[in-house]
Protein backbone atom coordinates (compact mmCIF):
# COMPACT_ATOMS: atom_id res chain seq x y z
CA UNK A 1 0.00 0.00 0.00
CA UNK A 2 1.39 3.41 -0.88
CA UNK A 3 -1.01 5.66 1.05
CA UNK A 4 -0.41 6.29 4.72
CA UNK A 5 -1.80 8.64 7.34
CA UNK A 6 0.69 9.29 10.08
CA UNK A 7 1.22 11.67 12.95
CA UNK A 8 4.24 13.92 13.13
CA UNK A 9 3.66 14.58 16.82
CA UNK A 10 1.47 13.15 19.52
CA UNK A 11 0.76 15.20 22.65
CA UNK A 12 -1.40 15.14 25.72
CA UNK A 13 -3.80 18.00 26.48
CA UNK A 14 -4.88 19.38 29.85
CA UNK A 15 -8.58 18.57 29.59
CA UNK A 16 -9.40 17.03 26.26
CA UNK A 17 -8.28 13.97 24.40
CA UNK A 18 -4.68 13.51 23.44
CA UNK A 19 -4.06 15.12 20.10
CA UNK A 20 -1.79 14.63 17.16
CA UNK A 21 -0.77 16.52 14.06
CA UNK A 22 -1.59 14.22 11.16
CA UNK A 23 -0.10 14.15 7.71
CA UNK A 24 -0.45 12.17 4.52
CA UNK A 25 2.49 10.08 3.36
CA UNK A 26 1.92 9.24 -0.29
CA UNK A 27 3.82 7.27 -2.88
CA UNK A 28 6.72 4.85 -2.63
CA UNK A 29 7.71 4.39 1.00
CA UNK A 30 11.19 3.03 0.29
CA UNK A 31 12.61 6.43 -0.66
CA UNK A 32 13.06 9.72 1.14
CA UNK A 33 10.35 12.35 0.44
CA UNK A 34 10.70 14.26 -2.79
CA UNK A 35 8.15 16.93 -1.90
CA UNK A 36 6.75 18.27 1.37
CA UNK A 37 3.61 20.43 1.24
CA UNK A 38 2.64 22.35 4.36
CA UNK A 39 -0.34 24.59 5.15
CA UNK A 40 -2.24 25.75 8.20
CA UNK A 41 0.65 27.03 10.29
CA UNK A 42 -1.92 29.73 10.92
CA UNK A 43 -5.20 28.15 11.91
CA UNK A 44 -7.43 30.62 10.10
CA UNK A 45 -5.74 30.39 6.69
CA UNK A 46 -8.15 27.95 5.17
CA UNK A 47 -7.42 27.95 1.43
CA UNK A 48 -4.18 26.00 1.80
CA UNK A 49 -5.64 23.55 4.28
CA UNK A 50 -8.61 22.75 2.05
CA UNK A 51 -6.52 22.47 -1.11
CA UNK A 52 -3.96 20.18 0.51
CA UNK A 53 -6.69 17.94 1.90
CA UNK A 54 -8.23 17.73 -1.60
CA UNK A 55 -4.83 17.20 -3.20
CA UNK A 56 -4.00 14.40 -0.75
CA UNK A 57 -7.27 12.75 -1.71
CA UNK A 58 -6.40 13.09 -5.41
CA UNK A 59 -2.86 11.78 -4.95
CA UNK A 60 -4.14 8.88 -2.86
CA UNK A 61 -6.41 7.91 -5.75
CA UNK A 62 -3.47 8.11 -8.13
CA UNK A 63 -1.30 6.07 -5.79
CA UNK A 64 -4.06 3.47 -5.49
CA UNK A 65 -4.29 3.38 -9.30
CA UNK A 66 -7.88 4.55 -9.24
CA UNK A 67 -7.10 7.12 -11.95
CA UNK A 68 -6.20 5.50 -15.26
CA UNK A 69 -2.91 6.65 -16.82
CA UNK A 70 -1.90 8.82 -13.83
CA UNK A 71 1.17 7.75 -11.87
CA UNK A 72 2.75 9.08 -8.70
CA UNK A 73 6.49 8.70 -9.17
CA UNK A 74 7.87 9.85 -5.83
CA UNK A 75 7.06 10.08 -2.17
CA UNK A 76 5.06 13.17 -1.15
CA UNK A 77 4.41 14.39 2.40
CA UNK A 78 1.26 16.52 2.80
CA UNK A 79 0.53 18.37 6.08
CA UNK A 80 -2.78 20.16 5.49
CA UNK A 81 -2.83 21.84 8.91
CA UNK A 82 -0.02 22.23 11.42
CA UNK A 83 -2.00 24.36 13.87
CA UNK A 84 -4.78 21.83 14.37
CA UNK A 85 -6.13 23.36 17.57
CA UNK A 86 -6.06 26.80 15.94
CA UNK A 87 -7.96 25.48 12.93
CA UNK A 88 -10.64 23.87 15.06
CA UNK A 89 -11.02 27.02 17.15
CA UNK A 90 -10.67 29.43 14.20
CA UNK A 91 -7.52 31.00 15.56
CA UNK A 92 -4.54 32.18 13.57
CA UNK A 93 -2.15 31.58 16.47
CA UNK A 94 -1.67 28.64 18.81
CA UNK A 95 -4.75 29.30 20.95
CA UNK A 96 -3.41 28.30 24.35
CA UNK A 97 -0.73 30.98 24.56
CA UNK A 98 -1.22 33.17 21.50
CA UNK A 99 2.05 32.08 19.90
CA UNK A 100 2.48 32.49 16.16
CA UNK A 101 3.70 29.07 15.01
CA UNK A 102 5.45 30.62 12.05
CA UNK A 103 7.69 32.59 14.39
CA UNK A 104 8.91 29.56 16.34
CA UNK A 105 11.36 27.95 13.91
CA UNK A 106 13.68 26.08 14.02
CA UNK A 107 11.92 25.04 17.22
CA UNK A 108 13.27 22.91 20.01
CA UNK A 109 12.24 19.32 20.82
CA UNK A 110 12.43 19.85 24.58
CA UNK A 111 11.10 23.40 24.59
CA UNK A 112 7.71 25.08 24.72
CA UNK A 113 4.75 23.34 23.07
CA UNK A 114 4.96 25.42 19.92
CA UNK A 115 8.74 24.96 19.74
CA UNK A 116 8.13 21.20 19.86
CA UNK A 117 5.58 21.43 17.06
CA UNK A 118 8.01 23.51 14.98
CA UNK A 119 10.85 21.07 15.57
CA UNK A 120 8.67 18.10 14.64
CA UNK A 121 7.52 19.76 11.42
CA UNK A 122 11.07 20.64 10.47
CA UNK A 123 12.24 17.09 11.17
CA UNK A 124 9.48 15.69 8.95
CA UNK A 125 9.90 18.07 6.02
CA UNK A 126 13.62 18.80 6.01
CA UNK A 127 14.65 15.67 4.06
CA UNK A 128 12.33 16.50 1.14
CA UNK A 129 14.00 17.65 -2.05
CA UNK A 130 11.28 20.27 -2.55
CA UNK A 131 9.24 21.99 0.14
CA UNK A 132 6.32 24.40 -0.18
CA UNK A 133 4.70 26.39 2.64
CA UNK A 134 1.21 27.68 1.76
CA UNK A 135 -0.41 30.69 3.39
CA UNK A 136 -3.33 33.03 2.96
CA UNK A 137 -3.02 36.64 3.90
CA UNK A 138 -4.72 37.86 7.09
CA UNK A 139 -8.43 38.51 7.64
CA UNK A 140 -8.27 41.94 6.05
CA UNK A 141 -6.38 41.63 2.80
CA UNK A 142 -6.84 39.40 -0.24
CA UNK A 143 -3.76 38.23 -2.11
CA UNK A 144 -3.72 36.98 -5.68
CA UNK A 145 -2.28 33.44 -5.63
CA UNK A 146 1.43 34.07 -5.87
CA UNK A 147 4.85 32.61 -5.18
CA UNK A 148 7.19 34.47 -2.85
CA UNK A 149 10.90 33.86 -3.14
CA UNK A 150 13.43 35.06 -0.60
CA UNK A 151 16.92 35.53 -2.11
CA UNK A 152 16.23 32.43 -4.25
CA UNK A 153 18.52 30.05 -6.10
CA UNK A 154 18.13 29.60 -9.86
CA UNK A 155 16.56 26.21 -9.21
CA UNK A 156 13.93 27.82 -7.02
CA UNK A 157 13.20 30.43 -9.68
CA UNK A 158 12.70 27.68 -12.22
CA UNK A 159 10.50 25.68 -9.88
CA UNK A 160 8.37 28.75 -9.11
CA UNK A 161 7.54 28.81 -12.81
CA UNK A 162 6.27 25.20 -12.72
CA UNK A 163 3.44 26.35 -10.47
CA UNK A 164 2.07 28.59 -13.20
CA UNK A 165 0.64 31.08 -10.69
CA UNK A 166 0.14 34.58 -12.08
CA UNK A 167 2.85 36.29 -10.01
CA UNK A 168 6.27 35.32 -8.73
CA UNK A 169 7.63 37.93 -6.32
CA UNK A 170 11.20 38.08 -5.12
CA UNK A 171 11.90 39.61 -1.73
CA UNK A 172 15.13 40.32 0.12
CA UNK A 173 15.81 38.50 3.37
CA UNK A 174 15.03 40.49 6.49
CA UNK A 175 14.76 40.04 10.23
CA UNK A 176 10.96 39.65 10.14
CA UNK A 177 11.34 36.21 8.62
CA UNK A 178 14.21 34.81 10.63
CA UNK A 179 12.00 32.57 12.76
CA UNK A 180 9.73 31.33 9.94
CA UNK A 181 9.51 27.83 8.49
CA UNK A 182 10.73 29.09 5.12
CA UNK A 183 13.90 30.48 6.68
CA UNK A 184 14.50 27.35 8.69
CA UNK A 185 14.25 25.32 5.48
CA UNK A 186 16.56 27.74 3.77
CA UNK A 187 19.16 27.47 6.53
CA UNK A 188 19.22 23.71 5.99
CA UNK A 189 19.86 23.89 2.28
CA UNK A 190 17.55 22.37 -0.28
CA UNK A 191 14.85 24.09 -2.23
CA UNK A 192 11.75 25.73 -0.86
CA UNK A 193 8.95 28.07 -1.91
CA UNK A 194 6.26 30.10 -0.16
CA UNK A 195 2.80 30.54 -1.67
CA UNK A 196 0.22 33.12 -0.67
CA UNK A 197 -3.38 32.82 -1.85
CA UNK A 198 -6.51 34.69 -0.84
CA UNK A 199 -7.41 35.87 2.63
CA UNK A 200 -7.86 34.23 6.00
CA UNK A 201 -11.09 33.27 7.70
CA UNK A 202 -12.84 31.81 4.66
CA UNK A 203 -12.46 29.85 1.45
CA UNK A 204 -12.15 31.55 -1.89
CA UNK A 205 -13.00 28.75 -4.34
CA UNK A 206 -11.45 30.40 -7.44
CA UNK A 207 -8.14 30.79 -5.60
CA UNK A 208 -8.42 27.22 -4.31
CA UNK A 209 -8.96 25.89 -7.82
CA UNK A 210 -5.98 27.83 -9.08
CA UNK A 211 -3.84 26.64 -6.21
CA UNK A 212 -4.85 23.01 -6.72
CA UNK A 213 -3.97 23.21 -10.36
CA UNK A 214 -0.65 24.91 -9.55
CA UNK A 215 0.35 22.11 -7.22
CA UNK A 216 -0.56 19.45 -9.78
CA UNK A 217 1.51 21.36 -12.34
CA UNK A 218 4.39 21.48 -9.86
CA UNK A 219 4.17 17.73 -9.31
CA UNK A 220 4.36 17.23 -13.06
CA UNK A 221 7.13 19.80 -13.54
CA UNK A 222 9.24 18.18 -10.86
CA UNK A 223 8.71 14.73 -12.34
CA UNK A 224 6.65 13.39 -9.45
CA UNK A 225 3.42 12.94 -11.32
CA UNK A 226 2.74 11.70 -14.84
CA UNK A 227 -0.29 11.13 -17.00
CA UNK A 228 -2.58 13.80 -15.56
CA UNK A 229 -4.32 15.91 -18.17
CA UNK A 230 -5.47 19.34 -17.09
CA UNK A 231 -7.08 22.10 -19.12
CA UNK A 232 -4.76 24.70 -20.63
CA UNK A 233 -3.41 27.17 -18.03
CA UNK A 234 -5.04 30.56 -17.58
CA UNK A 235 -2.80 33.53 -18.32
CA UNK A 236 0.94 34.00 -18.10
CA UNK A 237 3.39 33.93 -15.23
CA UNK A 238 4.93 37.32 -14.40
CA UNK A 239 8.02 37.78 -12.27
CA UNK A 240 8.57 40.83 -10.05
CA UNK A 241 11.75 41.89 -8.30
CA UNK A 242 12.11 43.44 -4.85
CA UNK A 243 11.45 46.97 -6.12
CA UNK A 244 8.55 46.11 -8.36
CA UNK A 245 5.91 46.10 -5.68
CA UNK A 246 3.92 49.19 -4.74
CA UNK A 247 1.89 49.14 -1.51
CA UNK A 248 -0.90 51.68 -1.51
CA UNK A 249 -1.42 53.07 1.99
CA UNK A 250 -4.43 55.15 2.96
CA UNK A 251 -3.85 58.34 4.88
CA UNK A 252 -7.60 58.53 5.58
CA UNK A 253 -9.61 56.47 8.03
CA UNK A 254 -13.23 55.38 7.57
CA UNK A 255 -14.90 52.87 5.27
CA UNK A 256 -12.98 51.47 2.32
CA UNK A 257 -15.20 50.19 -0.47
CA UNK A 258 -13.92 48.59 -3.66
CA UNK A 259 -15.46 46.50 -6.40
CA UNK A 260 -12.15 45.40 -7.90
CA UNK A 261 -10.90 41.84 -8.07
CA UNK A 262 -7.27 40.84 -7.69
CA UNK A 263 -5.46 39.70 -10.82
CA UNK A 264 -6.44 42.50 -13.16
CA UNK A 265 -4.01 44.91 -14.81
CA UNK A 266 -4.64 48.53 -13.95
CA UNK A 267 -3.46 51.84 -15.33
CA UNK A 268 -1.91 54.82 -13.57
CA UNK A 269 -4.70 56.93 -12.10
CA UNK A 270 -7.27 54.15 -12.25
CA UNK A 271 -9.91 54.16 -9.54
CA UNK A 272 -9.41 51.41 -6.96
CA UNK A 273 -12.07 52.34 -4.42
CA UNK A 274 -13.54 54.97 -2.14
CA UNK A 275 -13.02 56.03 1.46
CA UNK A 276 -16.11 57.29 3.28
CA UNK A 277 -16.16 59.01 6.67
CA UNK A 278 -16.99 56.44 9.35
CA UNK A 279 -19.67 58.49 11.11
CA UNK A 280 -20.92 61.13 8.69
CA UNK A 281 -20.79 58.89 5.66
CA UNK A 282 -19.45 61.57 3.35
CA UNK A 283 -16.93 60.72 0.65
CA UNK A 284 -13.46 61.50 1.95
CA UNK A 285 -11.28 60.25 -0.89
CA UNK A 286 -11.20 58.42 -4.16
CA UNK A 287 -8.36 55.92 -4.04
CA UNK A 288 -6.51 55.87 -7.34
CA UNK A 289 -3.45 53.89 -8.26
CA UNK A 290 -0.34 56.05 -8.69
CA UNK A 291 1.27 53.31 -10.78
CA UNK A 292 0.24 50.86 -13.47
CA UNK A 293 0.61 47.12 -13.04
CA UNK A 294 -0.95 43.92 -11.77
CA UNK A 295 -3.36 44.33 -8.87
CA UNK A 296 -2.02 41.56 -6.62
CA UNK A 297 -3.78 42.51 -3.41
CA UNK A 298 -6.86 44.41 -2.30
CA UNK A 299 -8.33 45.24 1.09
CA UNK A 300 -11.43 43.22 2.00
CA UNK A 301 -11.92 44.60 5.51
CA UNK A 302 -13.95 47.79 5.05
CA UNK A 303 -12.97 49.44 8.34
CA UNK A 304 -9.90 51.46 7.64
CA UNK A 305 -7.39 53.08 10.00
CA UNK A 306 -5.08 55.84 8.92
CA UNK A 307 -2.01 54.08 7.53
CA UNK A 308 -3.75 50.87 6.50
CA UNK A 309 -2.84 48.97 3.36
CA UNK A 310 -5.62 49.17 0.76
CA UNK A 311 -3.97 47.61 -2.30
CA UNK A 312 -0.72 46.29 -3.71
CA UNK A 313 0.25 46.77 -7.34
CA UNK A 314 3.08 44.79 -8.95
CA UNK A 315 4.77 46.97 -11.52
CA UNK A 316 6.75 46.37 -14.68
CA UNK A 317 9.27 49.04 -13.68
CA UNK A 318 11.03 49.59 -10.38
CA UNK A 319 9.02 52.01 -8.24
CA UNK A 320 11.37 53.11 -5.47
CA UNK A 321 12.61 52.00 -2.12
CA UNK A 322 9.43 51.88 -0.05
CA UNK A 323 9.84 49.17 2.54
CA UNK A 324 7.08 46.90 1.31
CA UNK A 325 8.93 44.10 3.03
CA UNK A 326 7.31 45.18 6.29
CA UNK A 327 3.88 44.94 4.82
CA UNK A 328 4.63 41.70 3.04
CA UNK A 329 5.35 40.11 6.40
CA UNK A 330 1.82 40.78 7.48
CA UNK A 331 -0.21 37.62 7.30
CA UNK A 332 2.72 35.37 6.64
Amino acid sequence: MSVRESFMLHMTAPLREDFGIPYHDLGPRDESPRLALVAGLHGNELNGVFVLARLANFLAQVAEQERPDARLLGRVIVVPAVNVLGLNTRSRVWPFDGTDLNRMFPGYESGETTQRIAAALLRLTEPARWRIDIHSSNLDFEELPQVRLYAPSDEERTAAGWLGLPAVIERPLNATFTATLANAWRARGGRSLVIQAGYAGGLQPPHCERLFRALVDFLEGSGLLAGVRLAAPEGDVHCFGPRQSFPLISEHAGWFVSRLEVGQWIQTGELLGYVYDGFRGELRAEVRSPVSGLLSGIRRQPLLCEGDLVARVLTREEVGAMADTYLMGHGQ
Binding site: T12, D97, C305
Partner: protein, 319 residues
Protein backbone atom coordinates in the same frame (compact mmCIF):
# COMPACT_ATOMS: atom_id res chain seq x y z
CA UNK B 1 11.30 72.09 36.90
CA UNK B 2 8.68 72.05 34.18
CA UNK B 3 6.16 69.24 34.12
CA UNK B 4 3.94 68.66 31.15
CA UNK B 5 2.15 65.99 29.17
CA UNK B 6 2.86 65.76 25.47
CA UNK B 7 1.22 63.90 22.64
CA UNK B 8 3.90 62.20 20.57
CA UNK B 9 1.81 60.08 18.24
CA UNK B 10 -1.73 60.14 16.98
CA UNK B 11 -3.60 58.11 14.42
CA UNK B 12 -7.15 58.17 13.11
CA UNK B 13 -9.42 55.16 13.66
CA UNK B 14 -12.27 54.21 11.34
CA UNK B 15 -15.16 55.55 13.40
CA UNK B 16 -14.66 59.03 14.90
CA UNK B 17 -11.92 58.14 17.39
CA UNK B 18 -8.19 58.73 17.40
CA UNK B 19 -5.41 56.85 19.13
CA UNK B 20 -3.37 59.34 21.11
CA UNK B 21 -0.08 58.41 22.75
CA UNK B 22 1.14 60.63 25.53
CA UNK B 23 4.31 61.00 27.49
CA UNK B 24 5.00 62.84 30.74
CA UNK B 25 8.01 65.14 30.58
CA UNK B 26 9.89 66.45 33.61
CA UNK B 27 12.32 69.10 32.47
CA UNK B 28 15.05 70.33 34.80
CA UNK B 29 18.47 71.60 33.76
CA UNK B 30 20.46 70.85 30.68
CA UNK B 31 21.75 67.50 31.94
CA UNK B 32 21.19 64.05 30.53
CA UNK B 33 17.86 62.94 29.09
CA UNK B 34 16.47 59.59 30.27
CA UNK B 35 13.28 57.70 29.54
CA UNK B 36 11.15 54.88 30.90
CA UNK B 37 8.95 52.90 28.54
CA UNK B 38 6.15 50.55 29.61
CA UNK B 39 3.01 48.97 28.24
CA UNK B 40 4.53 47.72 25.00
CA UNK B 41 2.39 44.64 25.60
CA UNK B 42 -1.20 45.41 26.53
CA UNK B 43 -1.34 42.71 29.22
CA UNK B 44 1.72 43.95 31.14
CA UNK B 45 0.86 46.48 33.81
CA UNK B 46 3.81 46.43 36.22
CA UNK B 47 5.67 49.14 34.30
CA UNK B 48 2.66 51.45 34.33
CA UNK B 49 2.74 51.38 38.09
CA UNK B 50 6.49 52.06 38.14
CA UNK B 51 5.82 55.10 35.93
CA UNK B 52 3.15 56.26 38.36
CA UNK B 53 5.56 55.93 41.30
CA UNK B 54 8.35 57.77 39.44
CA UNK B 55 5.96 60.53 38.38
CA UNK B 56 4.79 60.92 41.97
CA UNK B 57 8.38 61.08 43.21
CA UNK B 58 9.31 63.71 40.60
CA UNK B 59 6.19 65.78 41.39
CA UNK B 60 7.18 65.72 45.06
CA UNK B 61 10.72 66.73 44.09
CA UNK B 62 9.28 69.66 42.12
CA UNK B 63 7.66 70.88 45.33
CA UNK B 64 10.57 70.42 47.71
CA UNK B 65 13.72 70.87 45.59
CA UNK B 66 13.04 71.42 41.89
CA UNK B 67 16.60 72.43 41.07
CA UNK B 68 17.77 68.88 41.95
CA UNK B 69 16.50 67.68 38.58
CA UNK B 70 19.55 68.44 36.46
CA UNK B 71 18.37 66.67 33.32
CA UNK B 72 15.16 65.63 31.64
CA UNK B 73 12.95 62.64 32.38
CA UNK B 74 10.40 61.25 29.93
CA UNK B 75 7.86 58.63 30.98
CA UNK B 76 6.07 56.61 28.28
CA UNK B 77 3.74 54.47 30.39
CA UNK B 78 1.54 53.07 27.62
CA UNK B 79 3.17 52.42 24.28
CA UNK B 80 0.29 50.15 23.29
CA UNK B 81 -2.72 52.06 24.70
CA UNK B 82 -5.30 50.30 22.55
CA UNK B 83 -4.00 46.95 23.77
CA UNK B 84 -4.05 48.12 27.38
CA UNK B 85 -7.56 49.52 27.02
CA UNK B 86 -8.86 46.28 25.51
CA UNK B 87 -6.85 43.73 27.57
CA UNK B 88 -4.88 42.48 24.59
CA UNK B 89 -1.18 41.74 24.60
CA UNK B 90 -0.74 42.56 20.94
CA UNK B 91 -1.71 45.65 18.99
CA UNK B 92 -5.45 45.29 18.35
CA UNK B 93 -6.77 45.41 14.79
CA UNK B 94 -3.42 44.34 13.36
CA UNK B 95 -2.86 41.57 15.88
CA UNK B 96 0.89 41.99 15.90
CA UNK B 97 3.34 42.04 18.76
CA UNK B 98 4.51 45.65 18.95
CA UNK B 99 7.87 44.44 20.25
CA UNK B 100 8.45 42.56 17.00
CA UNK B 101 8.04 45.46 14.56
CA UNK B 102 10.87 47.79 15.55
CA UNK B 103 12.44 49.91 14.12
CA UNK B 104 9.10 50.45 12.39
CA UNK B 105 8.47 52.64 9.40
CA UNK B 106 6.87 56.09 9.03
CA UNK B 107 4.84 54.96 6.02
CA UNK B 108 3.96 51.50 7.26
CA UNK B 109 0.88 50.21 9.04
CA UNK B 110 -0.27 51.54 12.40
CA UNK B 111 2.12 49.35 14.51
CA UNK B 112 5.06 50.27 12.25
CA UNK B 113 4.24 53.99 12.51
CA UNK B 114 3.86 53.76 16.25
CA UNK B 115 7.19 51.92 16.60
CA UNK B 116 8.91 54.44 14.37
CA UNK B 117 7.52 57.39 16.34
CA UNK B 118 8.57 55.88 19.66
CA UNK B 119 12.06 55.10 18.40
CA UNK B 120 12.46 58.56 16.95
CA UNK B 121 11.66 60.17 20.31
CA UNK B 122 13.75 57.79 22.38
CA UNK B 123 16.88 57.71 20.26
CA UNK B 124 19.67 59.79 21.74
CA UNK B 125 18.62 59.42 25.38
CA UNK B 126 21.37 58.68 27.88
CA UNK B 127 19.35 55.66 29.03
CA UNK B 128 16.02 54.07 28.17
CA UNK B 129 14.49 51.54 30.54
CA UNK B 130 11.89 49.28 28.92
CA UNK B 131 9.78 47.59 31.60
CA UNK B 132 7.99 44.32 30.90
CA UNK B 133 5.86 42.14 33.11
CA UNK B 134 6.42 38.67 31.71
CA UNK B 135 3.02 37.41 30.53
CA UNK B 136 -0.04 35.97 32.23
CA UNK B 137 1.60 32.56 32.58
CA UNK B 138 4.88 33.22 34.39
CA UNK B 139 6.00 35.28 37.39
CA UNK B 140 9.45 36.82 37.16
CA UNK B 141 11.76 38.17 39.84
CA UNK B 142 12.86 41.74 39.03
CA UNK B 143 15.64 41.28 36.54
CA UNK B 144 17.29 42.85 33.57
CA UNK B 145 17.98 40.93 30.37
CA UNK B 146 20.91 41.92 28.25
CA UNK B 147 21.95 40.58 24.87
CA UNK B 148 25.57 39.45 24.82
CA UNK B 149 26.44 42.02 22.15
CA UNK B 150 25.64 44.88 24.54
CA UNK B 151 26.97 43.27 27.71
CA UNK B 152 30.01 45.51 28.18
CA UNK B 153 28.07 48.75 28.16
CA UNK B 154 24.89 47.69 29.89
CA UNK B 155 25.92 45.37 32.71
CA UNK B 156 27.70 48.14 34.68
CA UNK B 157 24.53 50.26 34.53
CA UNK B 158 22.30 47.33 35.41
CA UNK B 159 24.30 46.56 38.54
CA UNK B 160 22.93 49.72 40.14
CA UNK B 161 19.29 49.05 39.29
CA UNK B 162 18.44 47.38 42.63
CA UNK B 163 17.42 44.20 40.81
CA UNK B 164 17.80 40.59 41.85
CA UNK B 165 19.16 39.23 38.61
CA UNK B 166 21.06 40.22 35.50
CA UNK B 167 20.65 37.68 32.73
CA UNK B 168 23.08 37.98 29.85
CA UNK B 169 21.73 35.95 26.95
CA UNK B 170 23.04 35.03 23.56
CA UNK B 171 21.68 36.83 20.52
CA UNK B 172 18.34 35.48 19.38
CA UNK B 173 17.33 36.48 15.93
CA UNK B 174 13.71 37.17 16.81
CA UNK B 175 14.86 39.80 19.29
CA UNK B 176 16.27 41.90 16.50
CA UNK B 177 12.85 43.49 16.07
CA UNK B 178 12.51 44.65 19.67
CA UNK B 179 12.61 48.22 20.87
CA UNK B 180 15.64 47.46 23.07
CA UNK B 181 17.68 45.94 20.26
CA UNK B 182 16.80 48.80 17.93
CA UNK B 183 17.87 51.40 20.49
CA UNK B 184 21.06 49.63 21.54
CA UNK B 185 21.99 49.10 17.92
CA UNK B 186 21.65 52.87 17.40
CA UNK B 187 23.90 53.65 20.35
CA UNK B 188 21.10 54.54 22.78
CA UNK B 189 21.53 52.34 25.86
CA UNK B 190 18.35 50.44 26.68
CA UNK B 191 17.84 48.10 29.61
CA UNK B 192 15.00 45.58 29.47
CA UNK B 193 13.49 45.00 32.89
CA UNK B 194 11.25 41.98 33.46
CA UNK B 195 9.26 41.70 36.67
CA UNK B 196 6.08 40.29 38.11
CA UNK B 197 3.32 38.76 36.04
CA UNK B 198 0.93 39.85 33.32
CA UNK B 199 -2.40 41.54 34.12
CA UNK B 200 -1.33 42.25 37.70
CA UNK B 201 0.78 44.72 39.60
CA UNK B 202 3.23 43.75 42.32
CA UNK B 203 3.76 46.95 44.36
CA UNK B 204 6.82 45.64 46.21
CA UNK B 205 8.59 44.93 42.90
CA UNK B 206 7.63 48.36 41.57
CA UNK B 207 9.09 50.10 44.65
CA UNK B 208 12.27 48.05 44.32
CA UNK B 209 12.72 48.93 40.65
CA UNK B 210 11.83 52.60 41.18
CA UNK B 211 14.57 52.88 43.80
CA UNK B 212 17.04 51.39 41.32
CA UNK B 213 15.98 53.68 38.51
CA UNK B 214 16.47 56.78 40.67
CA UNK B 215 19.93 55.53 41.69
CA UNK B 216 20.95 55.07 38.05
CA UNK B 217 19.57 58.48 37.11
CA UNK B 218 21.68 60.02 39.83
CA UNK B 219 24.78 58.26 38.47
CA UNK B 220 23.99 59.62 35.01
CA UNK B 221 23.73 63.16 36.37
CA UNK B 222 20.00 63.49 35.86
CA UNK B 223 19.53 63.99 39.60
CA UNK B 224 21.81 66.09 41.82
CA UNK B 225 24.60 64.08 43.39
CA UNK B 226 23.77 65.33 46.88
CA UNK B 227 20.12 64.37 46.65
CA UNK B 228 19.42 61.76 49.30
CA UNK B 229 17.85 58.67 47.79
CA UNK B 230 16.57 55.51 49.34
CA UNK B 231 19.50 53.07 49.37
CA UNK B 232 19.55 49.98 47.21
CA UNK B 233 18.55 46.83 49.04
CA UNK B 234 19.16 44.20 46.35
CA UNK B 235 22.43 42.99 44.87
CA UNK B 236 21.96 41.29 41.52
CA UNK B 237 23.23 37.84 40.67
CA UNK B 238 24.55 37.50 37.16
CA UNK B 239 23.34 34.60 35.03
CA UNK B 240 23.97 33.57 31.47
CA UNK B 241 22.67 30.83 29.22
CA UNK B 242 25.22 28.46 30.76
CA UNK B 243 23.58 28.37 34.19
CA UNK B 244 19.92 29.03 33.44
CA UNK B 245 17.89 25.81 33.40
CA UNK B 246 14.42 25.61 31.88
CA UNK B 247 11.82 23.21 33.26
CA UNK B 248 9.15 22.37 30.73
CA UNK B 249 6.07 20.26 31.45
CA UNK B 250 6.48 16.62 30.47
CA UNK B 251 2.75 16.11 30.38
CA UNK B 252 -0.36 18.27 30.08
CA UNK B 253 -2.48 18.95 33.14
CA UNK B 254 -2.66 21.33 36.07
CA UNK B 255 0.58 22.56 37.61
CA UNK B 256 0.52 22.99 41.37
CA UNK B 257 3.74 24.53 42.69
CA UNK B 258 5.21 23.65 46.06
CA UNK B 259 8.29 25.85 45.65
CA UNK B 260 8.14 29.55 46.35
CA UNK B 261 9.27 32.14 43.88
CA UNK B 262 12.91 33.23 44.39
CA UNK B 263 13.52 30.28 46.65
CA UNK B 264 16.83 28.47 46.86
CA UNK B 265 16.43 24.83 45.90
CA UNK B 266 18.67 21.80 45.88
CA UNK B 267 19.03 19.23 43.15
CA UNK B 268 16.14 16.78 43.26
CA UNK B 269 13.97 18.98 45.46
CA UNK B 270 10.28 19.00 44.50
CA UNK B 271 9.13 22.20 42.77
CA UNK B 272 5.58 21.16 42.12
CA UNK B 273 3.41 18.51 40.54
CA UNK B 274 1.20 18.17 37.51
CA UNK B 275 -2.23 16.89 38.44
CA UNK B 276 -5.14 15.56 36.43
CA UNK B 277 -8.30 17.65 36.82
CA UNK B 278 -10.33 14.58 35.84
CA UNK B 279 -9.09 12.29 38.57
CA UNK B 280 -7.04 12.17 41.73
CA UNK B 281 -4.06 11.07 39.70
CA UNK B 282 -0.74 12.84 39.85
CA UNK B 283 0.64 12.89 36.33
CA UNK B 284 4.14 14.11 37.04
CA UNK B 285 6.33 15.41 39.79
CA UNK B 286 8.61 18.32 38.93
CA UNK B 287 11.99 18.42 40.61
CA UNK B 288 14.90 20.78 40.40
CA UNK B 289 17.66 19.47 38.14
CA UNK B 290 20.32 21.53 39.96
CA UNK B 291 21.18 23.45 43.10
CA UNK B 292 20.05 26.99 42.43
CA UNK B 293 17.31 29.56 42.79
CA UNK B 294 13.87 29.72 41.17
CA UNK B 295 13.64 33.04 39.37
CA UNK B 296 10.74 32.22 37.05
CA UNK B 297 7.71 30.32 38.34
CA UNK B 298 4.53 29.39 36.54
CA UNK B 299 1.52 31.41 37.66
CA UNK B 300 -1.14 30.05 35.31
CA UNK B 301 -1.92 26.48 36.35
CA UNK B 302 -3.02 24.75 33.15
CA UNK B 303 -0.13 23.43 31.11
CA UNK B 304 0.42 21.70 27.81
CA UNK B 305 3.33 19.38 27.21
CA UNK B 306 6.26 21.75 26.86
CA UNK B 307 4.76 24.66 28.82
CA UNK B 308 7.42 26.44 30.84
CA UNK B 309 7.04 25.74 34.57
CA UNK B 310 10.12 27.39 36.01
CA UNK B 311 13.57 28.72 35.30
CA UNK B 312 16.33 28.03 37.76
CA UNK B 313 19.60 29.82 37.99
CA UNK B 314 22.21 27.26 38.92
CA UNK B 315 24.43 28.31 41.79
CA UNK B 316 27.99 29.18 40.90
CA UNK B 317 30.88 29.89 43.22
CA UNK B 318 30.13 32.96 45.34
CA UNK B 319 26.42 33.15 44.41
Amino acid sequence: MKIRRETFFTLELPYRERIVLERAVFEGGGGARVAVVAGVHGDELEGLYVCHRLAGWLEALARRRPQALLGRVELYPALNPLGLDTLQRRVPIHEVDLNRVFPGHPEGLFPHRLAHAALRHLTGAALVIDIHASNIYLREIPQVRIARAFERELVPLARHMNLDLIWVHEAVTVLENTIAHSLNERGTPCLVVEMGVGMRITPAFAEQVAIGILAVWQRLGVLAADLELEPASHVPRVADDGNVHYLNAEVSGMFVPVAEHWMAVTRGEPLGRIASPLSGELLAEVRSPVDGIVFTLREYPLVYEGSLLARIMQARGGQ
